[in-house]
Amino acid sequence: MSLKFCNWLFLLVVPAVLFFLPEIVFAADVVSSEGIAAESLPSEGFAWWVWVLLLFVFSFFLGIIAVVAGVGGGVLYVPIVSSLFPFHLDFVRGAGLMVALAGALSAGAPLLNKGLANLRLALSMALIGSISSIFGALVGLALPAHIIQLSLGFTIVFIAIIMLMAKKSEFPEISAPDKLSQILHIHGIYYEASLNKDIDWQIHRTPVGLVLFVIIGFMAGMFGLGAGWANVPVFNLVLGAPLKVSVATSVFVLSVNDTAAAWIYLHKGAVLPLIAVPSIAGMMLGTKIGAKLLTRVKTKSVRVIVITLLLLAGFRAILKGFGI
């Protein structure tokens, strides 16, 4: 596959899917939260397996884009699938959590074994984040769909802005670790292949990080989003962990926090295998292909597309929340 072809794939096909498909299903999305009779629904027009297949293919492409753009699949999945498919937001959020969880579980082991993810850093932050994600899930499933739609829209626009503005620091400089991180023995060494040497790291501002993880956990549970978009900047820019450690540890934290919220969605009956499994399978396959394409496509262009998609999906969710 040539470089040119790969870039065309991302630059043209993906936005085209977003713009052409919604018109088929958007009407159903509007009525979905109101529970209008099934006769008017587009799922009547297509056989169920067509939707399942479309969801699989769509999740596959989403998986590719997520890896190339360096974002988690969950944050793209919920706003875009809820815009394009006729499923109720409850099931999209339930599937979104399972997608993020399955991805985190399968990526977690190699990251831990290579020493990139740090168990102590992750466990300290995940404990508090998982409690708040349970509350987030309970609140998210209790609120009316249009309120969730509206808050999701604002959150997604906010995430897109964070992605646009956030800086990264490969190796943040920490003058001294804080007391709490010393008590918790949060520090480490990892091998940096690009420099061919071991990098020592430590963290600071641990209490601030804990407070931020309460908020991140709550939002992840409420909207069914994977929270890599927030975990990584907090680990990297607030706590001062190296970028690679931040990305890897974020995956681990995600697996714990999403597990907590996923149970609430499972018990509430908000996880339909018919929606969740094709999404998990498509996304996992897509991320594997995406990892192989990573060196061939211009990640900067894809990142711009992803931010644009998030902004569009966010504004659309806001309009839907207002009933427009």
Partner: protein, 138 residues
């Protein structure tokens, strides 16, 4: 490069190994469960077409319409294809608890009081969420 330095500690290695097997098994279960479901190798509790005609409804409404059990009540219907597929997803959601239990034992053996406590509390939080004490029913 100092290999000795950058090697993960024992607890982290154990977590990684358990996670590898538990998650691999989870993906296999999810795919098998779904194949049983969509090819109707076992009878279904709710026909697929009925779910597809109503997936625009909220979770609460859909469950009420088909009298679907919430919480752990689905365990009584395990010989149904759709319930088996659901069970495979439940297994995936339990994977982290299994890994945490393994690492809690390692921390305990190492007499690491702080992380034994954190791992134990984390297990308690997840088991509490999994119990269905909160979240199940409407």
């Amino acid at each position: 490069m100092n290999e000795k330095h950058s090697r993960p500690d024992n607890a982290q290695r154990v977590y990684g190994q358990v996670l590898h097997w538990v998650s691999t098994l989870g993906i296999v279960f999810v795919i098998l469960g779904f194949a049983i479901y969509i090819f109707e190798l076992f009878p279904l509790k709710v026909p697929i077409s009925d779910i597809a005609h109503n997936w625009h409804l909220g979770a609460e409404e859909l469950n009420r319409q088909f009298h679907l059990p919430t919480g752990w009540a689905w365990v009584n219907d395990m010989l149904h294809g759709d319930v088996l597929s659901f069970a495979s997803i439940v297994y995936l959601s339990g994977a982290t608890i299994i890994c945490l239990a393994a690492v809690a034992v390692v921390f305990f053996r190492e007499k690491n009081v702080i992380y034994t406590t954190i791992a134990f509390l984390q297990i308690l939080v997840l088991v509490f969420a999994a119990s269905g004490i909160i979240g199940s029913g409407h």
